[in-house]
């Protein structure tokens, strides 16, 4: 695997099989404040599985939505079978045999499978020929290995089954090209394998598949080609057999991984956070297995890993939001596992969740009111001191806002994150342990710098910080020690200066040496 061929996408004219089924030519799509797709080139051959790989926010869904007709690009073209097409709606896309299965399913819960499959189908007669439809649905499920009962009510199906409904629906409508947006996000491993069989069955009969994913580990097996996106741009493209997870990881997180770092200036103190032998299961699937870690005052321990390997569960267990089946969590000497979020906070824990606006902050409430969220409140809420605090933070951290009474949802991502961090670092009385998840996701360079400086400052103030981040760059920059989380286990631990980026990258992809 050492030999890898990275081809810039512009140089690829023909994919694996020869005939190009679908292509994007210099597609640009903007959203307020971001260029989601910046001159993106992408193509798909007949019978090919072409994976679109990238971190969250890289622009994958946007590109797929352009290709299926949901979004219209500001510039660039969509080419189908060598001819430019203008797609104004997903219906136009379907007319060209292009269908997309979205990350969030678009099904009617109360309808049966068969009803959902024909929903929105153009040539629908007034009275549904139920038997005929069900027969056709059954034939599709048979051919492509998508076991489903056409009469089952969709509301009662599992996520995996719903996804099959979406795929059957696309095939029923005559899709030749299927765009699957993060199809494995909601699936358990055995279901993923079944999905891969379906994908193979489709390419076998000449259909093509665009497979969108941000999970590096799983895509290598299924893909004929992998194109990596980052920050709205294509950063590289590799063919089957040339795929090297290490380099793919690098393409995903950025070419240069800066190791000019912020490290602890003072010697570390006592252990403030310890997690021992934690085991967590959800719905029978093991999410965390035998997790042991310690964080001392005055150090930042980084948890690296590709998204979906248990990061969120780890943070939630420590924050008291979910109770592990086994194991202990100790915050400043107090056992907190199973004592709820309040218990963990009382013991001295502060937590910055990955989802700022939907979890860390109450979006419609003001900056002032959000500052009292995680503090001990009396019968009457003391908003006066919160107002002063808000004004201080706004000034010191240069938070851009009309004032402390502005709802946090009106803040940009960076400013919302400053509010959240300020609250958790400074305003929580006595919190000496800080768990921070993906603190800079989606922020611009300036805000990233402020956030990193804040974390650095908190470390120097003697706090014990656990930094959980999918951004390897960030972990390498900030952490004094690095752990790698892979499939719910800690597979690698490295300390400070001997941190080897290559080994961390490999561990993130599940390769241990």
């Amino acid at each position: 695997m050492a030999n890898l061929a990275i081809v810039t996408s512009a140089s690829i004219q023909h994919g694996a099989g020869g005939v190009l089924a679908l292509a994007a030519r210099a597609v640009t799509k903007r959203f307020p404040g971001v260029i989601a797709n910046d001159q993106v080139n992408f193509d798909l051959a007949r019978g090919e599985v072409h994976t679109l790989l990238g971190e969250n926010g890289a622009g994958k869904s946007t590109l797929a939505s352009v290709l299926c007709g949901l979004y219209r690009p500001e510039a660039g073209q969509v080419v189908r079978d060598g001819k430019e097409v203008r797609l104004n709606s997903p219906r136009d896309g379907l007319a060209h045999g292009i269908a997309m299965v979205h990350q969030h399913f678009r099904l009617v819960d109360r309808f049966t499978v068969a009803e959902n499959v024909v929903l929105g189908h153009k040539s629908l007669s007034f009275v549904l020929a139920t038997a005929e439809i069900e027969a056709k649905v059954a034939a599709i499920t048979e051919e492509f290995g998508l076991p489903l009962d056409p009469r089952a009510v969709v509301g009662e199906l599992s996520a995996g089954e719903r996804q099959r409904v979406e795929i059957v629906k696309a095939l029923y409508q005559g899709a030749e090209i299927l765009l699957l947006d993060e199809p494995t996000a909601l699936l358990a491993p055995p279901e993923v394998e079944k999905l891969f069989l379906t994908v193979r069955a489709m390419t076998h009969v000449g259909k093509s598949v665009v497979f969108v994913s941000h999970k590096l580990g799983e895509v290598v097996d299924i893909s004929d080609r992998i194109t990596v996106m980052r920050g709205g741009k294509v950063t590289g493209s590799v063919r089957r057999g040339e795929a090297d997870v290490r380099r793919l990881a690098e393409l995903m997180v950025g070419r240069e991984i800066n190791i000019v770092s912020r490290r602890a200036k003072s010697p570390v103190g006592e252990v403030l956070l310890s997690v021992s032998q934690v085991h967590l299961e959800r719905d029978g699937a093991a999410m965390l297995t035998d997790i042991n870690l310690e964080v001392r005052g005055g150090e930042i321990v980084g948890v690296a890993g590709v998204a979906g390997n248990g990061q969120r569960d780890l943070a939630e267990v420590i924050a008291g939001l979910c109770a592990p089946q086994q194991g202990n969590v100790t915050v400043c000497g107090t056992p907190t596992a199973g004592r709820g979020a309040g218990g963990a906070r009382r013991a001295g824990l502060a937590y910055v969740p990955e989802d700022r606006l939907g979890t860390g902050l109450a979006p419609s409430m003001s900056i002032r009111d959000n500052l009292v969220l995680t503090r001990v409140r009396d019968f009457l809420v003391d908003r006066k001191s919160a107002l002063l605090e808000a004004e201080t933070f706004i000034k010191q951290l240069e938070i851009k806002t009309p004032g402390p009474l502005t709802p946090t949802r009106k803040l940009s991502g960076g400013n919302a994150q400053k509010v959240l961090l300020a609250r958790e670092i400074f305003a929580v009385s006595g919190a000496r342990v800080l768990v921070v998840c993906s603190p800079t996701r989606g922020l611009d360079v300036g805000a990233v710098e402020t956030v990193h400086a804040l974390l650095d400052e908190a470390r120097d103030a003697g706090k014990a910080i656990l930094l959980v981040s999918e951004d390897l760059d960030e972990v390498m920059t900030l952490a004094d020690r690095v752990l790698v989380l892979y499939r719910g286990r800690i597979t690698l631990e490295q300390t400070g200066l001997d941190t080897n980026v290559d080994r961390v990258g490999q561990a993130m992809a599940g390769i241990t040496t």
Partner: protein, 372 residues
Amino acid sequence: MILLGRRVQVEQRMAVPKSAVVIVPVVSVVFALVVGGVFLALTGHPPIRTYLDLLDNGYTSFYGITDTLGLATPLICTGLAAAFAFRMNLYSIGQEGQMYLGMIGGTWVGIVLADSLPPLIAVPSVLVFGAIAGAAWIAVPAFLRARLGTSEIVSTLLLNYVALNLVNYFIFGSTGFFRDPTTSFPQGRAVAESARLSPMAFFTDKVTNAYPTLFVAILLAVFLFWFMRVSNYGYETAVYADSPNTARYAGMNSAWLQSSVLLVSGALAGVGGAMYVVGPAGKVDPGLLQVGLGYAGIVVAALARYNFLAVVLAAVLFAGLRTGGNALQVSNDPVPIAIAVVLQGAVLLFALGGELFRRNKVTLVRVQRATT
């Protein structure tokens, strides 16, 4: 919706402009009056004069406004009840039934205890017991919602029918405790005199239909307005309403928040029923079943956008449309009740529809033909 090659495009406003807050309700009412006027004209009633009549009978004449205030009193309570629950995204529509239970519970205390109590204690006991009965009536839906996540909409609605039949049974179906034992005529047993209030005279010697409980209702509204703004309980419910995930993150107890909010909502509706007892009725009175004050409370809450102080105004507005509308039927040019109802409906529809314009920017865009 496509109109003349243009499509109506609705976009959520990032910030609601100050002017929209004032203009939209005014325009809504004007539109409603115009639509109502067309109806009146079509049915052969002079719109302007009918409106003036309505205004007089509902608001500006002495008996008009006192009747309106009397009707508004329990309506404020049911409106507060609905607003309290709806603010938390709990869609209890059981105010009607909880109000009946408040009437039953209040009457029970009024009959059993009040004889031995002075009015200063008897009247509050009736109100408190009404509140307890109202809360009890929503206890099961509240438990189901908080523990099992069962929709409160259906469970509270179903209990309205149970409560309705309960009242009918007590008065028409049985000769039990709540039935007046002194006559064979089916009517409720009266509560003790000490549990009744006299109507307010407003510095005249006239007998009105408004009772001092009006001030209790207004005080409740003011208290809730203040309490939910400054208290930790108000804060936690607001966070939960805004984002349940955030509440969970902050370690709030969502089951407690949901069930307590529903119980308080039930209690508020129950107080409304008890006010009917200490005020005009003095007994379990099936007359309350005809008025629909519980359902009207939902409308009032929606009109007030769940603001407790605005509930008072909305309740008076709504009650005035009612009393004014009723009075029109008996004027010398009787307007059928249907028209009065249409008027009410038009005001409400436009007021609620106006909300769309307040929250969203509505524009017409040219439809681009698909070129494929």
